[in-house]
């Protein structure tokens, strides 16, 4: 027997806190506020929630969330690993739990206070390394940006990609953020000249190739399709979902296999499209994980919007920009210009597009791809309305 996910479960509620640096509220308070907002959005009482999913890096434990928000008996709870690769996976696992009857009302969430420099994992001096970081960190490859820059340089070398391609990504997302009052970069336009003149962080990547470490929390509520149609908001159905951990992959320092430039997106995509009734050409709008700009061309290739090495040129001619681009992408500003909350804000923007409520609304959007991090064991969702 095979149970398919296809449109059986819907995202019916979304909620988020404000985004910022140094927010006063605790991470636990922020997480609970986002969950309460998502429940209010769909009109479901906290006591009805019986499923929870979040990240292994989430510091708020299920017991504390449930005791604060006043949740009922929780019969399904799970966590997904690998940081920015987890976001879509939490929603997928929540949807699978609803589809198989393990719970009836599931919440997936992420709360994070990472804006303070001292809170960043790479800024802690570790004891002697006994894990896989011993093969990279002693040489000064310390931060995620350094690890991705290594792949970006190789990508440029193999395919002729350029900084102009990465600027296309940064500028498109900034334009979308400039239209989104909730975005931390709402009031800050960005020009190609500013991009090209920006200080280096890890050559060949500059300041504007990086996401914005942000404090904030977001949550979604999922229920079965039969109930979803009776709730307050237009339901957004989970059409297909996938996780991806390809053979011989190493998280972040994926240099130790035959083809490091074919990352987890390819593995997730094969499963994602197997479960779908439509293909990449039918996707009207995309939310692609963008902790660093090079992950966008790589993901465009991985999910089949173009061939190997074509992800850079794909971004030319405003292809990622609302309203006229061939694939408007990260229409709320994404991790690089709205907020970086481990990619969970991309899930909520996907929902808004299919409700028709984005600040950069794609006309007639009826399908949306949302992805989590390329370069780490990852996950993705296809949504439809």
């Amino acid at each position: 027997m095979t149970v398919t996910l296809r449109d059986q479960v819907a995202i019916v509620g979304i909620g988020q806190t404000g985004f910022g640096k140094g927010l006063d509220d605790s991470e636990l308070s922020l997480g609970c506020q986002a969950i309460v907002a998502a429940l209010a959005d769909c009109g479901i009482a906290p006591g009805e929630v019986d499923g929870l999913a979040s990240f292994t890096m989430e510091l708020n434990r299920e017991v504390d969330v449930a005791r604060n928000v006043g949740l009922g008996d929780i019969t399904y709870f799970s966590q997904v690993g690998y940081g920015g690769g987890a976001g879509c996976g939490t929603v997928l696992q929540a949807a699978m739990a609803v589809a198989t009857g393990q719970c009836r009302v599931a919440v997936a969430w992420r709360a994070r206070k990472r804006a303070a420099k001292a809170s960043r994992p790479w800024a802690q001096v570790p004891p002697r390394l006994s894990d896989h970081w011993q093969w990279s960190r002693p040489f000064g490859l310390l931060r995620p940006v350094d690890e991705v820059a290594m792949l970006a340089r190789r990508y440029f070398h193999e395919y002729g990609g350029t900084r102009d391609h990465l600027a296309n990504v940064a500028l498109a997302f900034r334009k979308h953020a400039n239209r989104n009052p909730a975005a931390t970069m709402h009031d800050k336009p960005l020009t190609r000249e500013q991009y090209m003149d920006a200080r280096w962080i890890s050559e060949p990547l500059c300041l504007f190739d990086n996401c914005l470490e942000t404090d904030g929390a977001l949550a979604v509520v999922l229920v079965g399709a039969d109930r979803a149609v009776d709730l307050a908001q237009r339901p957004v159905f989970v059409h297909s979902g996938a996780q991806g951990l390809p053979r011989q992959h190493q998280t972040m320092i994926n240099y130790f296999n035959d083809d490091p430039l074919e990352g987890p997106s390819w593995a997730a995509a094969r499963q994602l499209w197997r479960g779908a009734e439509f293909g990449p050409a039918d996707v009207k709008v995309a939310q692609i994980y963008d902790a660093f700009s090079p992950l966008v061309p790589l993901s465009l290739e991985g999910y089949g919007f173009c061939g190997r090495g074509e992800g850079g040129p794909f971004t030319d001619g405003g292809a990622l920009e609302w309203p006229d681009g061939r694939l408007p992408t990260n229409t709320s500003g994404g991790g690089m210009s709205e907020a970086y909350v481990h990619g969970f804000n991309l899930v909520l923007e996907g929902v808004r597009q299919l409700r028709g409520t984005s600040t950069s609304q794609v006309a007639d959007a009826d399908t949306c791809l949302v992805t989590s991090g390329e370069g780490v064991p990852t996950s993705a969702l296809l949504m439809r309305n």
């Binding site: 002697r128 006994s130 970081w133 002693p138 040489f139 490859l141 962080i201 890890s202 011989q248």
Partner: protein, 147 residues
């Protein structure tokens, strides 16, 4: 002397022999006893034949640059003091799918910020050079060049 560098545990179950090899001036790679395939980083099981028996083989220490980056601050203090410096990934001559992270230097114990990054080229030949940092010997790389 504490340098502030991030350094490996020299006593790891699967990794101690690699670091011990560096201290003897040998760049070792783990090889499967059963199917003879090389693997790096070291680990207990061969992913090709599932054997848990392995041995160490010395390599020529010759490689080519596969990619490189030049980190700028913010960085941990010991590294910020040297920035901008280079970090390279090399592909070993004997098996280019065996890659290692390192630094390009002008001599074994030379600083990692001595070479002008604008002169580094992907595919340029390098050879291993062993640098001492506290009680650790790290494999770094010097230009093989015409000799």
């Amino acid at each position: 002397m504490e340098t502030g560098f991030v350094l490996p545990d020299l006593d790891g179950e699967d990794t101690a022999e690699f670091w011990a090899g560096c201290q003897r001036g040998e760049l070792l790679v783990q090889a499967c006893d059963a199917c003879r395939r090389w693997r790096f980083p070291p680990r207990p099981m061969c992913p090709d034949c599932q054997s848990v028996a392995s041995h160490w083989v010395p390599t020529s220490g010759r490689a080519t640059v596969w990619s490189f980056v030049v980190p700028h601050p913010p960085l941990l203090p010991a590294y910020a003091d040297l920035a901008p410096y280079n970090v390279i990934v090399v592909a070993l001559d004997e098996d280019p799918t065996i890659r290692m992270v390192g630094n390009l230097v002008t001599s074994a114990d030379g600083p990692i910020n001595e070479i002008d990054p604008a002169t580094i080229r992907i595919a340029e030949p390098v050879r291993v050079a062993f640098a001492t940092v506290e009680d650790v010997t790290l494999p770094r790389w010097v230009r093989a060049g015409p000799q």
